[in-house]
């Protein structure tokens, strides 16, 4: 194994998650979704513009779930949107679930269709997303957060990009905004839309989807996104209010 000379070194032969040695819980009919309907989302808390050094920033937290932070700043390159998506080591729950691929690509592609990069031919936009806690559906939250940070930085966009996730349960039912346990079951869908234009900007499907179920899932996701939209608008409004001081006597 190549040794990373730029970090404090850990044990030479690696380490394992203690969850691998955990006593197995009884494999019964685990009741998923307690107190939440299949098309119900968890509550979301959104803040824009809380980082002092970045040009724009946003933080999204799902109640009892994922926490995502994003910052945007101007880079030195040309006419490009550069995205960086990272999961903190402590973000994944102890079950040590596998990270699904394609996240960074989905982030990049969903945003590219919304940001008017042609307005900034001589500038490079850098975007960095950090997932601090993953309790299911962190990827669409990361995309929502990134779009919000871009808007907070005052970047011209056709619309905000809002993401939602859905998964297919054991019996074929479709669940919106899955938790990490629900994501493990079978098939997942991540959808991002531009709510005002009702256009889909990104879609990532994994696992097995049968018959009409993907269409149904997409509809569910789109509804979820639309419900989130006013919340994002509000947070942008309050962050802009903070940035622009009320007109003083000088202005007149």
């Amino acid at each position: 194994m190549p040794v990373d000379s730029r970090r404090v070194r850990g044990p030479e032969d690696g380490s394992q998650s203690p969850a691998l040695y955990a006593e197995k819980e009884k494999e019964g009919e685990k009741v998923l979704r307690v107190g939440r309907g299949p098309s119900e989302q968890r509550a979301v808390c959104v803040r824009a513009g809380l980082l002092s050094q970045a040009a724009g920033s946003a933080y999204v937290e799902v109640a009892g779930g994922s926490k995502v932070m994003c910052g945007v700043w101007w880079g030195g390159g040309e006419g490009r949107l550069h995205c960086d998506l990272r999961w903190a080591r402590f973000s994944s729950p102890s079950t040590g679930s596998q990270r699904r691929g394609g996240g960074a690509l989905l982030l990049q592609q969903s945003l590219e269709s919304a940001v008017r990069m042609e307005r900034y031919p001589r500038a490079e936009l850098m975007l960095s997303v950090l997932v601090m806690e993953e309790r299911g559906a962190a990827l669409p939250m990361a995309i929502t957060c990134a779009a919000l940070a871009l808007a907070d930085a005052g970047i011209e966009m056709y619309d905000l990009v809002v993401g939602a996730a859905a998964c297919r349960g054991k019996t074929g039912e479709i669940l919106l905004d899955p938790t990490e346990e629900e994501e493990e079951i079978s098939a997942n869908m991540y959808l991002t839309i531009m709510p005002n234009l009702s256009q889909v900007s990104g879609l990532l499907c994994t696992g097995e989807w049968e018959g009409d179920s993907p269409v149904e899932a997409m509809k569910l996701c789109m509804e979820g996104c639309q419900r989130l939209y006013p919340l994002l608008q509000q947070s942008l409004l309050s962050s802009s209010k903070k940035k622009v001081p009320p007109p003083g006597p000088e202005a007149s």
């Binding site: 000379s5 730029r6 970090r7 404090v8 070194r9």
Partner: protein
């Protein structure tokens, strides 16, 4: 004067400082310093403290990459090469420490948009390595003729047990100590330029180390002078 040669671990007749500062027996392990022994660098020095040996080379003021260029002063770079293996983050942290110490005495504004590179090759480590690196860097800078505001020298102090202070410890003494401090002093006002430490110690002990470093500093500066004199009297 109470010189505590009868108590504590063997220190080979070198500097032991008792808790009260008046008892100082000064003798550092500095056994040699050879200047200008390398032909490629603009200045070089091999500094020996007992069996600890560091070879330093200085390149500069020289051309620099545009990305590293600073418009108002010279860019100082330090590279520390360990005796074996590749440099890791510990070396990186030492490099930063040595660089910032050198930067504070180098008159960088005289050579804007240039680079001054200091390469330190550790040849042998027998304790007091960091101070030997700093001393070697300073001597190599002198040899390269880099304009400097003043000089600096570093002293390592080890605190093995209560009431005992060893200046310029060897590796064994260093390992047996509960704290090891390296203090660099500058020559103009004899104030503390750099501090780096390992282990725990009290504020009082820290002040004693500063005192011991202060006392040893004049010896080292004298040694610097002699070494430079020797170089020029040879030719």
């Amino acid at each position: 004067m109470e010189v505590s040669s009868e108590s504590g671990p063997p220190t080979h007749g070198r500097c032991i400082v008792k808790r009260r500062m008046e008892a100082v027996e000064r003798s550092l392990r500095m056994s040699g310093c050879e200047l200008g022994l390398l032909s490629r660098p603009d200045g070089s020095a091999n500094f020996l403290q007992g069996a600890t040996s560091v070879l330093a080379g200085v390149y500069g003021p020289a051309e620099i990459k545009v990305s590293k260029e600073m418009h108002d002063k010279a860019t100082v770079e330090v590279m520390v090469r360990p005796k074996v293996g590749l440099p890791a983050i510990q070396e990186k942290s030492q490099e930063q420490l040595i660089r910032e110490t050198c930067e504070s005495v180098i008159n960088g504004t005289l050579h804007p948009r240039t680079s001054i590179t200091i390469v330190l090759q550790i040849i042998n480590d027998d304790g007091s390595l960091l101070s030997c690196c700093l001393n070697a860097a300073c001597m190599a800078l002198i040899d390269a003729g880099i304009p400097m505001r003043g000089l600096f020298c570093a002293v390592t102090c080890a605190l093995p047990v209560e009431d005992l202070l060893i200046v310029d410890p060897n590796l064994k003494e260093q390992k047996e100590s509960r704290a090891v401090l390296t203090i660099a002093m500058e020559s103009m006002e004899k104030k503390v330029l750099t501090v780096s430490s390992r282990g725990t110690y009290s504020a009082e002990e820290f002040q004693q180390c500063v005192g011991a470093a202060w006392v040893s500093a004049s010896d080292i500066f004298q040694f610097y002078k002699d070494s430079v004199k020797r170089k020029f009297s040879k030719s």
